[in-house]
């Protein structure tokens, strides 16, 4: 992207920033760094200065713009709702075009180019999480036609720590007798990491492929346990299929009486709203409605919940680009969780699970982190 395009697309938006500074109060990067460059206001000012030709892209600007989790708490708190993250992502695109970006991103971009997933493993291994399941049907959750597609997402498919999510979710779907399939090795990355990396152009091939697969399967509904896949599909994909997050789909199944809670879940839990599900997709109640229906489960809210939820530190490719910063943000999240005195923190995003539990483990903090699908499955068991 060129400076002129940046100007055309973002000058009016950025000009709405009156530098009032309210965004400082909610920005997790600022909370961790305490410098003006870390603030959304500062990032607006940088984009604006670039547009006005007052500053050139520098290594410091690269470092700055690639440190944003995309949580959009700033826009939430901003009087004129300046879309700072959109400007930041466009800025990243400009930086990529001048070859100024964290080179660690190349690894993911290459993996997506060659293997269509972020891990760089052969894409046929997307279903490796199935190996740990018992009583798997012969079709291995891969059928030619189905009414529902469960889009697993790269992280949950390849990272052992969160493979429990697809393992749990397929059992829930089976239990509820849903006519569903996964795409197995034919599922390609949704493109989310490329948007965050400022390499949006490279995602076209992925989008087209995935859209085509939905068409071939003839699915009416695509379900995602990953809020970022869900959000990316909602924003960037063209499909007639209904797009739902797992929490919405489970809420529906519960309402239809298709999920029976034999066991319940007898613990006090708190719920962390993932940014891409809550603020960015406006889904706050579905996960809570699911949790409230689980017998024995007591829900206590975090101090900052729903629209005010504080990012776990895992968004915006930050965990890849600056793991220490990501972990510093997660540490603050963990402290907030601990203040609730809940026995378990439940979320509905594999990335949040990874960031929070990863930091807890590294810092030797005893914290039980679960995805909502794990909680539901446990409550269903007899």
């Amino acid at each position: 992207m060129k400076r002129e395009d940046l100007k055309e697309q973002f000058y009016d938006e950025i000009a709405k920033c009156n530098r009032c500074g309210f965004c400082l109060s909610v920005c997790p990067i600022y909370a961790a760094k305490g410098t003006e460059w870390a603030t959304p206001r500062g990032k607006n000012a940088i984009i604006r200065a670039v547009i006005e030709g007052k500053i050139d892209w520098t290594p410091e600007i690269e470092e700055c713009l690639f440190r944003c989790t995309g949580c959009r708490a700033c826009t939430q708190t901003c009087f004129p709702s300046v879309e700072t993250n959109d400007g930041i992502l466009a800025g990243r695109t400009c930086l990529v075009d001048t070859s100024q970006y964290p080179k660690v991103v190349n690894r993911v971009a290459e993996a997506l180019e060659n293997d269509f997933n972020i891990s760089g493993d052969p894409n046929e291994e997307r279903n490796s999480w199935i190996e740990f399941l018992r009583d798997v049907p012969d079709h291995m959750y891969q059928r030619e036609k189905a009414r529902v597609i469960y889009f697993v997402g790269c992280v949950a498919a390849f990272f052992p720590l969160v493979q429990k999510i697809p393992q749990s979710f397929v059992q829930i779907l089976e239990g509820a007798e849903v006519d569903f399939t996964t795409l197995g090795g034919e599922e390609w990355c949704c493109g989310f990491p490329l948007i965050q990396a400022g390499m949006t152009k490279k995602m076209e091939k992925l989008v087209e492929h995935n859209q085509q697969k939905v068409h071939e399967v003839g699915a009416e509904t695509v379900v995602f346990a990953c809020p970022s896949c869900y959000h990316t599909w909602k924003e960037r994909y063209k499909t007639d299929a209904e797009l739902l997050h797992s929490t919405q789909f489970m809420e529906r199944l519960i309402d239809e009486g298709k999920i029976a809670f034999n066991n319940g879940f007898h613990k006090t839990v708190t719920y962390h709203d993932p940014c891409d599900l809550g603020r960015n997709s406006d889904i706050y109640e579905a996960p809570r409605n699911v949790l409230k229906r689980v017998p024995g489960l007591k829900l206590v809210e975090l101090e900052s919940n729903r629209q005010l939820s504080v990012c776990c530190g895992g968004g915006g490719d930050l965990e890849m680009i600056d793991p220490d910063l990501s972990s510093a943000i997660a540490q603050k999240k963990i402290e907030e969780i601990q203040r609730t005195e809940a026995e378990v923190v439940v979320t509905s995003c594999q990335q949040c699970v990874r960031t929070i539990s990863g930091t807890a483990r590294k810092r030797k903090i005893d914290l039980k982190v679960m995805d909502i699908t794990e909680v539901v499955l446990e409550a269903m068991k007899s």
Partner: protein, 461 residues
């Protein structure tokens, strides 16, 4: 002194990671929430009083200007490094050092957000009364520097009434204690001199605050008026009756329209003005007091008074006031918040003249303000990128302050003088008045390193 060697020296005090000097950083610490710009030579993030003392000592020796700042929410350009030098950003010194409910005192570092402290205090059932609109991010260092206000200052007083003392680093790097936890401190009232000095006399590194138990009861009312005059007269009449509400806020027609278009607070679109009146105190007698207020509203031709009967309704009534700036900000890209004060009885007259200024310059002006204090906040709406419009905004802002001064008021209610209103100081002070202020400045900062070029104009008009 060469920038590089300056930064080397300073980095030895605070560590390299807390000394910022890139082009990007210099640009980013050149603004605040005002329309002014500057450019520092470096930015330092100190971590302790001792570090601040060493930095200031060094700057004093070398004659380098220092501007201390927190979140940079300043509306009058007070945190702009107009003459370069060092910007001290206090984000690392953000701890609550003590909450002493028995003695109703607390001690904080300058970099803590006001609301973070207030939320912590709420756990003890206590409040810190000043509530600047920017309290989400405004820091105590800034509150002290600007002598910040807010809606609740009508009843409880502005920041200076809640600051009992501080640890201060003087311009030569010496550390002193002013005031203290006691209510009445012997000797000169340096705390009084210091609060509101906009970073020109010293830098606070610890601040002693007055805290109060949360009021037992609160009653919130929304009074709707067909004319601005009636709303203005009601304000004076309530105070004249001996009632001091916790807040008494006025919102005008343009703001109402903007509020209803964005957040639907339930304000009637055809009203000329609404008053948001809140009483607080002990439970007994609260209803009777509220009735007296409603009676006064009726005598002054109120169209309707809505009283909140529970917390939810209270939040709803406040939603319009709290969302007002946001709503107005949607109308044009930028807004200038003017800040002037007039005697309450002159409110209707001055408001009318303010609107005429808007017409003269062809600039929309919305009003949301602390009516009880007579503290006007006309919001001039414009697009900063349009230079011609920007110069009209500056001229209109100055004219509005002149109106306030001529009506027997003054040129700042709570935002300070900063870089913005220096020439307007002549509207309210004689050269002799200002010479006396300059003597105070010279006594504390003879080398003029603390926030130079602010508050007191150099040339006499």
């Amino acid at each position: 002194m060469e920038r590089e060697s300056m930064v080397d020296e300073l980095a030895q005090i605070v560590g390299r990671e807390n000394a910022l000097v890139s082009e990007m950083d210099l640009m980013l610490y050149g603004y605040d929430a005002s329309l002014y710009r500057g450019r520092p030579d470096c930015i330092i993030l100190p971590g302790s009083t001792e570090e601040v003392s060493k930095i200031v000592g060094f700057a004093h020796k070398e004659g380098i200007p220092i501007v201390a700042r927190g979140s940079g929410t300043n509306l009058s350009g007070g945190t702009i490094p107009s003459r370069g030098g060092i910007v001290l950003h206090f984000s690392r010194m953000n701890r609550i050092l003590e909450i002493d409910t028995e003695n109703q005192r607390a001690v904080v570092e300058p970099g803590i957000f006001t609301l973070v402290f207030k939320n912590e205090l709420a756990r003890y059932g206590y409040v810190y009364q000043p509530d600047p609109a920017s309290e989400k991010v405004s820091t105590f260092g800034g509150n002290v520097g600007e002598n910040s206000g807010g809606p609740h200052c009508l009843k409880y007083g502005v920041t200076t009434n809640h600051i009992l003392g501080a640890e201060v680093v003087l311009s030569d790097g010496e550390i002193i204690q002013i005031g203290g936890k006691a209510l009445d401190n012997p000797g000169y009232d340096l705390t009084g001199v210091f609060v509101g000095s906009e970073g020109t006399l010293g830098i606070a590194t610890k601040i002693i605050l007055r805290i109060m138990p949360k009021p037992e009861a609160v009653k919130t009312m929304l009074a709707i008026y067909n004319t601005l005059d009636d709303a203005g007269t009601t304000v004076s009449a309530i105070i004249a009756d001996g009632i001091i509400p916790a807040t008494l806020e006025m919102i005008d027609k343009l703001t109402i329209k903007a509020v209803e278009e964005s957040i639907q607070a339930g304000y009637p679109l055809d009203a000329e003005a609404v008053l948001l009146i809140e009483l607080d105190g002990i439970k007994d007698g609260m209803e009777r007091l509220a009735e007296r207020v409603m009676e006064i509203c009726k005598k002054n031709n109120v169209r309707e008074v809505k009283a909140a009967t529970n917390e939810e309704e209270r939040t709803q009534l406040w939603a319009g006031r709290k969302g007002a700036f946001g709503a107005v900000a949607r109308l044009r890209p930028n807004y200038l918040v003017c800040d002037g004060t007039v005697p309450r009885t002159k409110l209707p007259e001055v408001l009318g003249k303010v609107m005429e200024v808007g017409k003269k310059y062809n600039l929309p002006i919305a009003n949301v303000f602390h009516a009880g204090d007579g503290n006007l906040h006309p919001l001039i709406l414009f697009d900063e990128r349009d230079e011609e419009e920007l110069s009209k905004v500056h001229a209109a802002g100055s004219e509005i302050l002149k109106l306030c001064a001529d009506a027997g008021g003054t040129i700042s209610g709570e935002h300070g003088i900063g870089a913005e209103k220096m020439k307007e100081m002549f509207f309210v002070f004689t050269p002799r008045d200002m010479a006396a202020m300059r003597k105070v400045k010279m006594a504390f900062d003879p080398k003029d390193i603390y926030n130079p070029g602010k508050v007191i104009p150099e040339a006499e008009a």
